[in-house]
């Protein structure tokens, strides 16, 4: 949680490494690089779509999500928690 965090660019794992199947309120994601299956729910698919391959900083992502959606709980730290989860699984890469 230091200041340099603002410079980190988050990007979705390369699309060819993911296999995505929408079930109901959940989405099954097979991550080819790890061979691990993840079951994700909102807001993860929305975050992945927003980040895309180009990637963006946390602040840009928050701004983008605020434009596309009515954020019900823009609590500071919530987005960090989601990004941390996604980075840990490899679904999102940092640079």
């Amino acid at each position: 949680m230091n200041d340099s965090r603002g410079d980190i660019v988050y990007r979705m794992a390369r699309p060819e490494t993911l296999k995505i199947v929408h079930l109901d309120s959940f989405t099954a994601v097979f991550h080819r690089a790890s061979g691990i299956t993840h079951l994700v729910t909102s807001p993860v698919p929305e975050i992945l779509a927003a980040l895309g391959e180009a990637g963006m900083t946390r602040a840009d992502l928050m701004a983008r999500l605020s434009v596309d959606y009515v954020l019900g709980d823009a609590e500071e730290g919530s987005l960090d928690a989601r990004l941390e989860e996604l980075v840990a699984t490899g679904l999102v890469a940092v640079a």
Partner: protein, 336 residues
């Protein structure tokens, strides 16, 4: 082909895949059982890829190849996760054994079964590495204080850690032989001469890979898994040759072990070698597996088991170790 239903059946199939056309159903059955018992079914499956085999065997081998491929993906991912965790420390993380072979795309990695992630780091960085791994979700496997103290005082690695989400183990080494062994390899040279496979992922130099395989086989283990280990040696020599190997082995104090590993690998998988009587005893132990995949020759196995501990520890310490382990009911060679 020879018809002995022991480890030689596997060795001959790996040496001469075309020769398997002569195998009957019972020999195929024995070969598959031995391959599985030696954890070499994936290696065998790749080696026999494209060879004309009975349809039932073809199915089994195709499944083994797919299974090994999945194991390769999981092993490389585990290495990648460890790389990400250790990157901020700025230390060189050197992959060892199976993970290194598949990361480097070596023949030895083809179909190889890979269990734990083995890495080598500088001894001075051990505490920082341990802290970073614990922070990132790895946990101690054994809460046993004797084992823990033993590892920390005498072994060449941290006590094993397992990741709480991925169920995968990591062995963090700072050298390739226990500190109790009478031989002290040059750990600094291992690290200094490592090669970078891709940013942040390193492997030992080819000669050091061979030295490590030999050290692992003779000084660190009781020859369990020896057939696989010698296949690694065979493939590494075939791919890289042995230029400068003798000098490197001498630098690490492992000349005898490396020379023996080369002879045994050549005897099992290559063009053969001039064997000493002791070499023959090693081969007798290494190939002690019957057509049902069972361990054979228990007396020879026990002798090598005791010898492996003898090489690792001074006598008084060995006695204390075996006594403590025995009282806990954990001693004795694997029956598998």
């Amino acid at each position: 082909m020879g018809r002995a239903l022991d480890g030689w059946l596997l060795a001959q199939a790996l040496r001469d895949p075309g020769g398997t056309v002569a195998l009957g159903a019972d020999e195929w059955t024995a070969l598959l059982a031995i391959g599985r018992a030696e954890q070499m079914i994936g290696t065998l499956a790749w080696r026999l890829n494209g060879i004309d085999v009975p349809p039932s065997v073809a199915r089994i081998l195709a499944d083994a190849r797919a299974s090994a491929e999945q194991g390769r993906v999981a092993a490389l991912w585990e290495a990648e996760v460890a790389r990400r965790v250790l990157a901020p420390l700025g230390v060189r993380m050197v992959l060892l054994k199976g993970t290194a072979f598949v990361a480097a795309g070596l023949q030895a990695g083809r179909g190889r079964s890979i269990g734990d992630l083995d890495i080598l780091v500088p001894r001075a960085a051990l505490d920082a590495v341990e802290a970073a791994l614990l922070e990132a979700g790895w946990e101690w496997v054994k809460p046993d204080p004797y084992d823990d103290a033993y590892y920390r005082q005498w072994m060449h690695e941290l006590p094993p850690l397992i990741h709480r989400d991925r169920d995968r183990m990591i062995d963090v080494h700072h050298t390739i032989l226990p500190l109790t062994a009478r031989i002290t390899p040059d750990a600094g040279a291992l690290l200094a001469d490592a090669v970078e496979l891709k940013p942040g992922l390193w492997a030992l130099s080819p000669n050091d890979m061979l030295v490590h395989a030999a050290a692992h086989l003779f000084a660190d283990g009781d020859l369990a898994g020896g057939m696989r280990n010698l296949w690694d040696v065979h493939c590494l020599v075939a791919e890289f040759g042995a230029d400068g190997l003798a000098g490197r082995a001498a630098q690490h104090g492992l000349s005898h072990e490396v020379a023996r590993a080369l002879r045994l690998a050549a005897a099992l998988y290559g063009e053969g070698a001039r064997l000493t009587p002791v070499d023959r005893l090693y081969l007798y132990r290494l190939t002690a597996r019957d057509g049902w995949g069972r361990a054979m020759r228990p007396i020879t196995r026990m002798a090598f088991y005791i010898r492996s501990h003898w090489l690792r520890m001074p006598p008084a310490m060995l006695a204390r170790h075996l006594w403590t382990k025995w009282r806990k009911g954990g001693a004795g060679p694997a029956s598998g």
